[in-house]
């Protein structure tokens, strides 16, 4: 019943007309885009007006929901109002949950709203799976990085060890094991470079060859250990009396050789004199191993285009031979710039032997 009774002057026909009109209006409220005006003859029906007002509120709330507006207040009581409020509340909660996910918090799941919840939970599960996979990859890469670092460190260490070993081997290959100075091979390599440099710079150089006088006798009478000691002493003395850029080497047996780069014969001669005096001095303070040396000195002039290192060494060797031949314990200088040999004898160094 919309009214206690239809208008007083109405008969059954008028009542049918009233209900038809009221039902049309209700139908319009449910289907039309805009709420139609209530005809004047029905406006004073309070129950119809109240019902239309409630339907209008439902229309308004549904219109808001369709636009994503969750804030339209629902004053309607009863089941319909409850459903609308429930929908608003559930969507608000879902939005809060989505914001939680956006903040990286994936622990909550939705257990209502049917397919919405199913999709939301599927999404969060997928994100959790992806996140776990990323974390796993991250840990894996971190582990790989650590292993790689260890491997690289081990390789660097191995390379350094190899480098040191190589340097050691090179040193062994170029060093005389007994005396610790350069060996013959090392001397020849360095001396060839030095000759080329002197040629380029148009400077002369000198080569001095020397050996221990009566070394065989020392070995035979005092033993090889003493002989070795003599050789080590001589090597040390030569080194002490040489400049840093002179090339000093044990040439073989008791023979030693020195190359004086960019040095005149006079200066090389003076250096050999100092060496000889040093040997003489140590001879007086080291009575157990008295020894003397003979020295041959030769020069290389840049004008000697065809002269080789071997030629110069041969010259120094000849000078040494002459020093031996002329009495030992002396310096013999081979001056042969113009293929004429001159001899220059030093004064024999004092000897206690």
């Amino acid at each position: 019943m919309l009214q206690n009774k239809p208008p007083s002057d109405s008969g059954p026909d008028n009542a049918d007309t009233f209900f038809d009109t009221a039902l049309d209006i209700l139908g319009d409220y449910l289907t039309k885009n805009k709420v139609p005006p209530v005809p004047p003859d029905l406006q004073n029906n309070a129950k119809l007006a109240g019902l239309l007002e409630q339907i209008a509120e439902v229309r308004s709330v549904l219109a808001g929901l369709s636009q994503g507006n969750l804030s339209i207040p629902v004053t309607l009581h009863g089941h319909m109002g409850g459903l609308l409020k429930s929908f608003q509340g559930n969507v608000r909660h879902m939005l809060w949950m989505i914001n939680q996910v956006a903040d990286g918090k994936l622990v909550n799941h939705i257990d209502y709203m049917g397919d919405f919840a199913k999709s939301f939970n599927t999404m969060t599960n997928a994100i959790q799976t992806a996140k776990a996979a990323i974390e796993y990859q991250k840990e894996l890469y971190a582990k790989l990085a650590d292993e790689l670092k260890i491997e690289v460190e081990a390789k660097i260490k191995a390379q350094e060890a190899l480098k040191h070993e190589l340097e050691h081997q090179q040193e062994l290959a170029s060093t005389d094991a007994l005396t610790g100075i350069a060996n013959r091979r090392s001397f020849l390599a360095q001396a060839n470079l030095e000759i080329n440099r002197c040629r380029r710079n148009n400077t002369m150089l000198c080569v001095s060859m020397m050996d221990v006088d009566h070394f065989k006798t020392i070995n035979d009478t005092l033993g090889h250990q003493v002989g070795d000691k003599v050789l080590r002493h001589l090597a040390a003395t030569i080194t002490q009396n040489s400049r840093s850029y002179d090339i000093v080497a044990r040439y073989g047996g008791d023979e030693f050789i020195i190359l004086f780069p960019s040095t005149t014969m006079e200066n090389a001669f003076s250096a050999m004199e100092r060496l000889n005096k040093s040997i003489a001095s140590s001879r007086s303070s080291c009575k157990e191993t008295p020894y003397a040396i003979s020295i041959g000195l030769a020069a290389f002039f840049p004008s000697q285009k065809d002269l080789t290192l071997e030629d110069i060494i041969n010259k120094a060797d000849k000078a040494l031979y002459m020093a031996k031949k002329t009495g030992r314990n002396r310096i013999f200088v081979m001056r042969d710039e113009e293929e004429s040999i001159e001899e220059e004898l030093s004064e024999p160094a004092n000897t206690t032997a």
Binding site: G78, K85, W96
Partner: protein, 170 residues
Amino acid sequence: MSEKLYKFSWDLIGDIGARESLGPLVRVEVYRLMQFCFRDILEKHYGAEQADNLFRETGKLAGEHFYKQFLPGEMDFNTFVEKTQTILRDLGVGILRIESANLEEGKLVLTVGEDLDCSGLPEIDHEFCAYDEGFIAGILGSYVKREFLVREIDCWCTGARTCRFSADIV
């Protein structure tokens, strides 16, 4: 006022396991019978407003003990919400959902569905869940370690009456 003889502690709930045959559960109507009869008598003696206040205060005390018993330890807000949702559901208290939460501003809006106190009640023209207001204030206050003012701002009938609460740090 006569001397106070009782101070609640969780121990006073006793050993539920002693109910070997009946177990830990009780019908909702029995719980409501007790609470609504309390309300009737309290309103009769103190009026509706004072009865609400007593229920609210009782709920707050219960919420604080509930927090200590079921939600101890440090945790982030999301974990706290999830744990609270789980325990409230498992114990049959209700279904908690957060509509909005801004802890920096100290403002939350939440709903409790299938509420132990009021789900399925006939619709009435005033808010009814004073005990729940206190209960929620007790739990939130214990977590944030601040005082909360919780008010029921809406309720509706969808077959299962659901309550919406606002919670604001005082």
